[in-house]
Each structure stands twice: as C-alpha cells, then as structure tokens.
C-alpha cells in the first residue's frame, strides 16, 4: 500500500481506536482531556501520542482486569521499572498472526529449519528475559530449532555442522540479536548462503565498536555467504508490529497496519524526509491498551517514501535520545 493510501486508512482506524481507548481507559481519557485532543484528525501526525515510558509508570489498559489474558513486561534498563502491556485474548491472538503476515514477505508460509544464534537456556528460564521472549516469538517461524551456542554460551560448532548437513542445501532461517550475530556468526566459518537472517535488538553495542549496517551486511556476505539479511525494529509496547529491513538494506519498512512519524524534538512537528527526529510508531494492533500511537525515545530519520523495493516510508533508527533530552520530553507530556 502506497503511503498516501496507507495514511488515509490508518488515520481512520487509529482515530476510532483513540475514541475506544478514551472510553475504556480512564487515565488515558484524562491525558487526552488535559492536552485537548479532539477529532477530527486529518493526518497521522495529528493523532495524540503517548510517550512510551508511560507504560513503565502507569497501568494503562482498556479491558477489565478479568479480561486480561497476558501481561508482557519489557526489560527495564537499570533503575527503571519495566513496561507493562496488557493483552486480552483477542489482542494476544492477533499479535503473532500479524507478525507472521509481516515476515511472510521474506520467509514464506512454511516454517523453515531454524538456526538460533543464542543458547537454549534463554527460552527455558522461568522468568523469561526480553531476549528469551524475542527468541521464543521467532521460534514460531522455524522447525528443528538448533542453537548456535551451548548451555554455557560457547559456540557449538558440531551442532551447526549437523544442522547444515541436514538443511544447508535448502532455504533456512537464522535468527539472533544483532550483537550476538556479529559476535558469534562471523567467526563460524560456515556456509550460510541458503539462509535468511532476521536480526534485531539494536545497534548500541556495535556502534561502540563503530560497526554500522553496511559493514555488518558486508562482512556477513563475505564471510558466511549470507546475503538475505533483514534487521527489524519493534518494541514490547507494540507487540506484533515490526518494521522490517528491505532486501537491499535501504531502510526499515512499515507493515500495512503500522507507520512511523518522525518528530522534530524542538517543535514536535513532523520532520521532513532526511531530517532526524524522535520516532513515533503507530499501529492498529494495540486494541486492549492505549499503545496505538507512541512516541519512542529513539532517534530516526525517514530516508524515502514510496521509492524503495517495498511501498511506504523507509526509515533508519539512529540510536537512543540522550538522557537529558528524554527528561525534557517527558516533562512536556507530564504537564499534559
């Protein structure tokens, strides 16, 4: 769906969701009342947003307590409370389905043999970490899940060799967090040329080593033969919605049910293409909590609109907003 068509459809759906959450979630209603948010909304950028950190400090849900089916929590950085995201049965069922619809573009319908660049213990831990939850969510797309690291976190070259002997001739899925892939896949010396790599989790640790996306893709192609590589951006507060990197590595693309707005952190106006700002993510999936329009604390930039291999906006995540500015931002919303 092209950007203009997508925006019309999304504004209509998200405006309806805004009113539904206004009715059903009193703290959300108080925020909307305080900032004077009223329809009609002509553009996505006109919709009222919540700062994503409100989910760390407030219980925000639009369903009765007895309708809550799952509560998801994020990994809070040190000293921060984790976000809490409330899903009813319907929202919990929708999210893996929509994630599957997004990934189908690069993975197909079939569950592929899957190499996980992690250790099996991350998914066994009863107090599942965000990393474990991410791995578990992706394991739905695989079969014969084989872990690259053993229980002690050491590379298990034999396991990888066995996997490639079984599946290396056909298409298979490789999943891992970006820094784990960089750390463990490169030295492996394995032929992964039939693989499709999906990776996520942010660039912070690689940025510290001055490794960017171009070098990441270049080294994986040169050393493992991995040329089908897709990074994605997503967060627990919009579970099921991911922004997936296109095949050429020319940016992250939005699924049809979601979009991004880049906002100038000085004026809060939508930043033009090519101008960096704060990333606001919108999605129709949050039906049981008011997380459909969220201002993140990540900096990003739109690289182009309807000019890449997939339709819509393509954007890049530039990193985290420095802490002082993030406080300023929440102060602004705090007054609201």
């Amino acid at each position: 769906m092209g950007e203009a068509e997508r925006e019309v459809a999304l504004v209509r759906e998200l405006a309806a969701l805004t009113e539904r959450h206004r009715q059903a979630c009193p703290p959300y209603r108080r925020i909307l009342d305080a900032i004077g948010a009223e329809p009609p909304y002509a553009r996505l950028a006109d919709l009222p947003w919540l700062p994503v950190r409100l989910f760390k400090t407030h219980e925000l849900r639009s369903v009765r307590e007895d309708q809550v089916f799952r509560v998801l929590t994020s990994s809070g950085t040190t000293g921060q409370r984790p976000s809490r995201v409330y899903l009813d049965r319907e929202a919990a069922a929708a999210q893996p389905r929509m994630l599957a619809a997004t990934l189908r573009e690069v993975l197909g319908e079939r569950r592929l043999p899957m190499l996980v660049v992690d250790t099996r213990s991350v998914v066994r831990d009863p107090t599942l970490s965000a990393r474990g939850a991410g791995v578990l969510g992706m394991m739905n797309f695989g079969r014969d899940h084989t872990f690259v690291l053993d229980e002690q976190g050491r590379v298990d070259a034999e396991a990888v060799k066995g996997f490639l002997a079984r599946h290396g001739g056909g298409r298979f899925l490789v999943f891992g967090f970006t820094f784990m892939v960089w750390q463990h896949l490169l030295g492996l010396g394995a032929d992964l040329s039939q693989g499709v790599l999906v990776h996520s989790g942010g660039w912070k640790r690689l940025a510290e080593q001055a490794v960017g996306n171009a070098e990441f893709r270049g080294r994986l192609a040169a050393e493992c033969g991995l040329t089908r590589v897709h990074n994605f951006y997503g967060m627990v507060e919009q579970i099921g919605t991911i922004f997936l990197e296109g095949p050429d590595g020319d940016g992250l693309y939005c699924p049809d049910f979601a979009d991004v707005v880049i906002r100038d952190p000085e004026t809060w106006q939508e930043a033009p293409t090519g101008e960096p700002g704060l990333i606001e993510v919108v999605s129709t999936l949050p039906t049981s909590y008011p997380g459909h329009v969220l201002l993140t604390e990540d900096l990003g930039v739109v690289r182009g609109v309807d000019d890449g291999c997939w339709p819509g906006k393509r954007f890049e995540v530039l990193g985290r907003l420095p802490r002082a500015e993030a406080r300023g931002c929440s102060d602004t919303m705090g007054r609201a």
Binding site: F69, R70, A93, P96, R97, A100, R104, L107, E109, R110, R111, V123, R124, L136, G137, M139, N140, F141, R143, D144, H145
Partner: protein, 82 residues
C-alpha cells in the same frame, strides 16, 4: 489406536501430562504446561506422529485440542470422531 487416541497421546507426552489425563477440552495457555515452548514441542511431535508439515499460520491458530484435531482433518488425517 485411532487418530484421536494417537493425538491424545501426543498431547499428554508433549505437555508432560499424566497417562490418563483428559485432554479433549484443553486450550493453549489455559494450563501452565501448555506454554509457548511446549506448543512448539507439541507441533513437532504432531508432525512426527502423523507425518504432516504444519505451516506457521496453522501453528499459531492451533489454540485448543479441538483445533488440533481439526487441523489433522485438514491434512487428510481422519479425526472426525471429535
């Protein structure tokens, strides 16, 4: 053993339930044993037992024992007794 009994046995074994446990009314996540990790083990066990390939969407939609029986039927394995 008919298909439904075999499916019951697969459920009990993949979800670590006792031998005689009644599984016909089970729903995903309604008991602690049927979590997302067990779901994957269950799907793999069904694929082995019935020699079928279950797609991503089918796996996501298989949210109860009844749906699992329906899924087998869709794959041409007669579980019409459910």
């Amino acid at each position: 053993m008919n298909h439904v009994d075999r499916l019951r046995a697969v459920f009990r074994s993949a979800l670590n339930l006792p031998a005689g446990a009644d599984v016909d009314g089970l729903e995903y996540r309604a008991i602690p044993q049927w979590d997302s990790l067990a779901h994957m083990a269950l799907i793999a066990a069904m694929e082995d037992e019935f020699s079928v390939m279950i797609d991503t969407d089918e796996m996501i939609d298989m949210s109860s024992f009844a749906k699992a029986a329906g899924l087998l039927e869709k794959h041409g394995i007669g579980a019409a007794a459910i």
